[in-house]
Amino acid sequence: MLKAIFYKEWLKLRLFWCLAILVHIGLIAYLLLSLRSTLLASGIVETWATMIGRDVLMVNQLMYLPLITGVCIALCQWLPEMQIKRIRLTLHLPIDYTASIGAMLFCSIVCLCLLFAIDATVLAVVEQQWLPRELVWRTFLTCLPWYIGGLLGYSVTSWCVLEPQWRMRCVNFLIGAPLVALCFLTAQPACYIPMFPWLVLALLATVCLPFYSVYRFKLGKQ
């Protein structure tokens, strides 16, 4: 049954995933090409000096892309289910709804993590040809809260979309949006190090919340 759910999710989201991979690879390629052109145009010594002395990492354009991807995936995944209450079919499958909804959430979260891992790996592997390991690691630490923000964006959007009542949907949004905003308080390099455990906690908490929305749906809240 779970296999069938994964297959259904693949059929539903494959186009979007292809598009997301293209956009992500495109932006990463753009960032790397612009870094290369800066290294060639301004000189490697000067670029390193700027990156070290002025705390510039040249990846700021990446900031909101994981969030946009996470939110779009959640909308593409859950809006069709909620629009004509197709989710009722899923809830009537001969497995518990926690397993079916959990499988759907798991699917998207794993795919998002893979996508973000591809981003970070390509960025790190190419950057380390031109930059010392300290700057590559710093770039990763700077991007990491944005990726967590993408996962938070996915789970908060799923929580809001799956909620059957508009009033509660607004409340969910008012609680969820600031939690997502926590990942974007500053673009200063590597400033989120002490915050990572708290962001992971927030992520674990929000990943559970779509189940509560479905629970309310099952209770017949309209």
Binding site: V45, D96, P132, L135, P178, T186, C191, P194, M195, Y215
Partner: protein, 363 residues
Amino acid sequence: MKNIQSSISNLKYLIIVLGLIVLAWLLPVLYELLSPRTDRMPFVVYSCLDSTFIKFETSNKQVRFIDFRGQEFTKAQADSLLPLFSFRQLVAEGRLPDSLYGVALTPKLIQQNAFHFKTSPKQLNKPAVGLYTMLESSSGRVDLQLPPDVFRLTDDGLEFIDCETNTVNRAKSLSFSRELTKHGFTFPVQLIWGNGTTRKDYDNGFLLTDANDRLYQLKMVKGTPWVREIIVDRQSSNPKWIQVFTLEPANRALIGFVVDDAYQLYAVRANGQLAHIGIDAYNPQEMQISIVGDLFHWTITEYTATDSRYYAVDARTFEQVACAIVPDPERPLNQRIERILLPVRLRFTSWRTQLIAPNINDD
């Protein structure tokens, strides 16, 4: 199955907790937006002529010059009382004194002996890159040039990385590490500070401390390492250093400042001697400091969480000449109301650090 159902129904408590956290964070932010804080620190300079501090207070876009006894001055009077601070204006008006304390005053002499050093906990508490630029201190050229490499600190030395090839320059790394070891330096480096910018007149290199808290100066002279131990001339045991700063003032009289774990501030003179600066305490993690130096005196201002401390010290001996501690004014009504209305205020940014972390009631 029933267990899972009841766990899911209990998720409403998680939503309530998350909601409370969001409220504890956003309500103080909204309150601050509605009643912005207007407290501004006045700029203060010691007047050697009047032996008092004169503060520049800005209100309604007007600058008022008031001394700590409450006497107010006109702009022209303030210029006269601060001849070394306002020398450009006095030169333009032909009012610069010929000499002061037996020293013939020239604009060049005044300019050479003026410097401004300023730092705050927020500037210090940020994640370090871990890479440093060692400029050539004696290139024979007027302008400083960026070197073709940067260096990192390792457990047993310095490691120079060539920028063009992104590979370690073993010969240079070994040469600098050996030179430090030859001078008694024990790796790893504990504290290090240098100004990697080329926008300065000359280069004093780096001040650094070793594993035994001994203080050194390191710079590159004609491509080779130049090391000097800064000797602590004190009967007591070697102090533990908690902060070092390197400076390049125009008169070349100083290498930098260092702070020990008793929060005492020292100046490192150009000849490598350490001189205690006559102020009570400076905790770089908690206080914002500003040092405005001139030919005769330094005005040192410290902003702490509870007061502002103003010191004047002699520019040669660093002995305290004057001191004023001004407690912060009572919190304005809107802040007192905020504390009553919002007893738990959650923040993720702080005046102490650039790091993002949760802080409760850290105003």
